[in-house]
Amino acid sequence: MSARTSQPSLDPAELLARRARWTPLEIAFWVAAFAAVYFLPGRHLILTEIVIWALFALSLDLILGFGGILSLGHAAFFGVGAYVAGLLAKHGIITEPVLALLVAGLAATLVGFATSFLVLRGSDLTRLMVTLGVSLVLREIANRYAEITGGADGLQGITRAPVLGLFDFDLFGQTACVYSLVVLFVLFLLARRIVNSPFGLSLLAVRGNPLRASAIGIPVNWRLVAIYSIAAGYAGIAGGLLTQTTAFAALEFFSFDRSADVLLVLIIGGIGYLYGGLIGAVVFRLMQDWLANITPQYWQFWIGLVLVLIVLIGRDRMAASIRPVRSLIDTLGARIRIGIIGGGR
């Protein structure tokens, strides 16, 4: 992210490909992730939860960090994916989980594409309200057609076929955990590829300066439609994973709380470098677990406090490097001003 130096390397090709290069820290991250699954067999349930939050937050990062679109209704796509995956399994339409997951993602992509045109224009506030509205509408549709979705009781009676016909879901959640992590890893690789492509660069340009982006020939709206649809697909797959690993889907999957939480997760981890959602998910879920153990009733107090601190400190962190210089200048400036005013009297 900010590890870019201005070390003059004189090869444009090298510099262009720099974003795409793997750093040791990234490799360590993934080794640690897979090691956690291997060495913490007793923690597979919470690990699976973390992985699904991570994928969901990753998808929000594609929209917010790369498209610059603020959403408070991202759970809409999570819910669509969850219910599609659930219905496919329940009615035996597609029983193999990986294929069902792809279809769930595709369904969410289509819903994302259809609703993307609503978020192209307008301010952040407009977009917040539109995305929130879309998620409420979808939730009520799921509620209304209870004979299909199970309504407020949730979608029950989902049977789980083995992954790829080989790996059965076990009671301890080991298959679910490995399956989720592999899906996350593959989708992360894809996202990483996308954001480092010319298409990805054009998204950064659109986010940074849409006026200029269109003035160099970038079809701004189409790029936003594309990334919004892709991200919706990611969210749908995250939802599908939750249904498949828990054999259950509920209206809560569409909820405003979930949309708000995923934004929280992403902001805890940081926006616009793909790992934010992943790190945020780990921190968020562990913090939730830990705080709930200490103060079962009031843990949200601490989450709220941490959120406020992160948002405030996050802004300051950028200015932190020049703070000593700035405060020195400020002090000097203040002294000089006092001196001048004092002298003038």
């Binding site: 870019r4 201005s6 070390q7 003059p8 390397s9 004189l10 444009p12 090709a13 090298e14 510099l15 262009l16 490909a17 720099r18 974003r19 795409a20 590829r193 996308i194 480092n196 492509s197 010319p198 298409f199 990805g200 660069l201 054009s202 950064l204 340009a205 940074g208 300066n209 006026l211 200029r212 982006a213 269109s214 003035a215 160099i216 020939g217 970038i218 079809p219 701004v220 189409w222 790029r223 594309a226």
Partner: protein
């Protein structure tokens, strides 16, 4: 019809204010055409209308005889009309290499390519290198644009329009803010564009206008006041009157 760019009774109103009023501008193919006028005459409004950043209230815009009035800005760029901005409009988080590479890959219709890692097309990389050299940006090419000194940003602003390889180039006060040492080379680069590239220049600095332009249009209060060769414009007493007291600040 040998006009590269033509406007027919172009109008733009902002509320009650007519920023452009019945502007019928004709720019010949290959011309070095300057659009001058006192502050607030509506010069930038005209550029914004031509590039599609704003939509006209009335009137048409023709590029090589084809109507582009209703086209999106990115579509106009693809048809060969590019611009620079009076105040830099750059991508602060990208480096100059990335910025130029992006513009070139968009021009080459590879901007939607989501699989290839940037920097893997030798043709694009080569062209980026050339532009960096020509605009003296090689030493800062890997730094975040937002951290560059203003003069370098200004050079990138102009290089970015060049990267679109336009047939018609709209320059909105290109020399403003370019470091003194670079100014001549920037203007030379503009002057050295192939003869088939048409340039429409907005400029405050009369030295630049008269050394560069072969045709000058004068815009006053949103209306075309007169048009002619530099000699005609320089000799016109009305133009002098318009500029009297205005100063020809550089």
């Amino acid at each position: 019809m040998s006009y590269a760019l033509e406007t027919v009774d172009l109008e733009k109103s902002f509320g009650g204010l007519k920023a452009a009023n019945q502007v019928s501008l004709r720019v010949k193919k290959g011309a070095r055409h300057a659009l001058i006028g006192p502050n607030g005459a509506g010069k930038t409004t005209v550029i914004n209308l031509l590039s599609g950043a704003i939509r006209p209230t009335a009137g048409r815009i023709l590029l090589d005889g084809a109507d582009i009035t209703d086209l999106e800005p990115h579509h106009r760029v693809r048809l060969g009309i590019a611009r620079t901005f009076q105040i830099n409009q750059l991508f602060g988080d990208l480096t100059p290499v990335e910025t130029l590479g992006l513009a070139i890959s968009e021009r080459s219709r590879m901007g939607h390519d989501w699989w290839r890692v940037a920097g893997r097309k030798p043709a694009i990389v080569g062209e980026v290198g050339e532009l960096l050299n020509r605009f003296d940006l090689t030493d800062v090419m890997g730094a975040r644009t937002a951290t560059l000194p203003y003069g370098k940003q200004r050079l990138l602003e102009i290089a970015l329009a060049f990267a679109c390889k336009p047939r018609v180039l709209l320059l909105d006060e290109p020399a403003a803010g370019v470091p003194e040492a670079e100014r001549d080379s920037v203007l030379e680069t503009v002057a050295a564009l192939p003869a088939n590239v048409t340039v429409l220049l907005i400029e405050h600095d009369m030295d630049i206008v008269f050394s560069f332009a072969d045709r000058i249009s004068v815009l006053v209060n949103g209306e075309l006041f007169m048009e002619g060769t530099p000699e005609q414009v320089a000799a016109d007493p009305r133009v002098k009157a318009v500029y009297l007291g205005e100063g020809t600040d550089a």
